[in-house]
Amino acid sequence: MTDIAVAPRGERGLAALYRHARYVIGENSVTGFAFALFVLIVLAALFGPQIVPYDPLQSNTTAALKPPNLHHWFGTDQLGRDVFSRVVAATRLDFFIAVASVALVFLMGGLAGVAAGFFGGWTDRIVGRIADTIMAFPLFVLAMGIVAALGNTVQNIVIATAIVNFPLYARIARAEAHVRRDAGFVEAARLSGNSNWRILALQILPNVFPILVVQMSLTMGYAILNAAGLSFIGLGVRPPTPEWGIMVAEGAAFMVSGEWWNAFFPGAALMVAVFCFNLLGDGLRDMVDPRRRT
């Protein structure tokens, strides 16, 4: 007796996708858990700064460096700011950086990749060369260099993260577009007179998107780690802005002398967020292409 879920005939498009998604999430409790966590993170990002008990920027030097207690669940930092409020408030910035980076690299890499795969020839060669050149660098080092060159801002962190992930997206998109270039439905579209650009946008891109979505979830995790790492060494985000990486940097000195909560909670938040995105990415991969399960 097999128990493979099959969408009933006649259900197409979004409805079938929804059913399939529900099946996968239900089947695999880990994916369900990751999804729930993801929703929690999004909520924290959207509403966090409004609902936290203390103002993340409000310093109170009399209450500096207090360990976790009933008033301050995560303790206070060296300026007396409530760590819990800062950690939750930081969700917004880190999440924004992750989403922005991923959106940017999806557009840049995805478009360049499908163009390279679809048109071939010089387009393919140029995109390939650009990707190879980027890959010749250790990626974090390149990100450092880009932010240093362009300037110490959050926008530049987003741009640097996107550039550094460009080769991966371009490669995946190119492979998928290349395979579909000669597929039946593309031929049909061509024969009925569609221009190349229309085919690219309406036929190929929608097919490439699901595979890229899996990668996007994984990249979100990477983008947060990247941004945190850059902030940790002083690039990008500047105090007193709450961001997990810079909070760990500020708390690092105190770890050595025993005030662990300062750096621990933002670091743990980082870990949880990245972990969630990775699990989600794995779950999405199972949804999109179960053959690729590890």
């Binding site: 060369r129 974090f140 080092v141 450092m144 260099g145 060159a149 945190a228 790492g229």
Partner: protein, 337 residues
């Protein structure tokens, strides 16, 4: 075999060219005035002009590039503003510290990850298999600087087992006479066991941090590769021929399974070289990573450029080595070259 090496070398050249071009563009295509960047935040307008002429930043871009390449060929990476020293010399003197740390970290990582992956593959669904999977998933999520800090907190502050994270040697020790720049090796060469132990103690936590960081991809790849190889036809033949468990798993299965793992090492190195920078900051390690970070904070630009270039060239060289290593293990690649 030689042909393979030459071919791979030839393939590395376009990468090198690309690296040089990109690092050039990074510094010349800056928003604002490059000369101001190189002159530093405290420079007067006259100083900026001087720097502009001195560095040839008023010449056309192509001429600048030519000069850049010539400088590179002579090993001239500019001068640091904060120390006044040539960047190349400073990088050279600080490189062994980073190299020793990274190599030791990689060693730790491989020493744990590979056996873990093999055991997980040979005992599917056992405790160790699950442990391997958890390690692989968690390891990718841990920020490396966070791991370092936790290790410091637990092993230095709480347990007192590790020394303070203050660099390569405790204040009371002086470095051994320089042969390789690796304190571990140099102290052994000088027969100085005390210094050896002191250097080792300082190395343990940062190396462990890097090791934990790179554990996940290696363990995951080893496990996946071993699983695939263990169900292959030739392993079945080896089993049917009654060869010993050691021969089947290590001499037959593992050697074949290592091939994708060696390729993964390239990616792992990319991460390691980046993580190096972060770990050096946590442990106050006097390597090239912290050199670049200090320069960044002081808006001292030439060292950062030199750092990025050096790292990239090292990375290209590393990938080349891995390619050649792969050819050594896999005769199919060797003989088709």
């Amino acid at each position: 075999m030689l042909l393979l090496i030459l071919k791979r070398l030839a393939m590395a050249i376009p990468s090198l060219i690309g690296v040089v071009i990109v690092t050039f563009l990074l510094t010349r295509a800056l928003p604002g005035d490059p000369a101001a960047y190189f002159a530093g935040p405290a420079a007067t307008p006259q100083a900026i002009e001087q720097v502009r002429v001195k560095l040839g930043l008023d010449r056309p871009l192509l001429a600048q590039f030519g000069r850049y390449v010539v400088d590179l060929a002579h090993g001239n990476l500019g001068t640091s503003l904060t120390t006044g020293q040539p960047v190349a010399a400073e990088l050279q003197s600080r490189l062994p510290a980073s190299a020793e740390l990274t190599l030791l970290g990689l060693l730790v990582s491989v020493a744990i990850a590979v056996p873990l992956g093999i055991l997980a593959a040979t005992r599917p669904n056992s405790l160790i298999d699950h442990a391997c999977r958890i390690v692989a998933t968690l390891g990718v999520s841990l920020p490396v600087f966070f791991t370092g800090l936790i290790l410091v907190y637990v092993f230095y502050y709480l347990l007192g087992w590790a020394p303070a994270p203050l660099g390569r040697l405790d204040v009371f020790y002086s470095p051994p006479p320089q042969v390789t720049g690796f304190y571990l090796i140099d102290s052994l060469i000088a027969g100085d066991l005390e210094t050896f132990m002191a250097a080792l103690k300082q190395l343990i936590l940062p190396a462990l941090t890097l090791g934990i960081f790179s554990l996940a991809p290696i363990a995951r790849m080893t496990r996946a590769s071993m699983l695939a190889v263990l169900s292959s036809d030739f392993v079945r033949t080896a089993r049917a021929s009654g060869l010993s468990a050691y021969t089947v798993i290590i001499a037959y299965a593992f050697r074949n399974a290592m091939l994708p793992v060696v390729t993964t090492l390239g990616m792992v190195f990319s991460f390691l070289l980046g993580a190096n920078v972060l770990v050096e900051k946590v442990f106050a390690w006097p390597g090239i990573g912290s050199y670049a970070v200090e320069a960044l904070l002081a808006s001292d630009f030439a060292p950062v450029q030199g750092f990025v270039l050096t790292m990239a060239i090292m990375y290209v060289a590393l990938n080349l080595t891995i390619d050649i290593l792969y050819g050594l293990i896999d005769p199919r690649v060797r003989l088709e070259a």
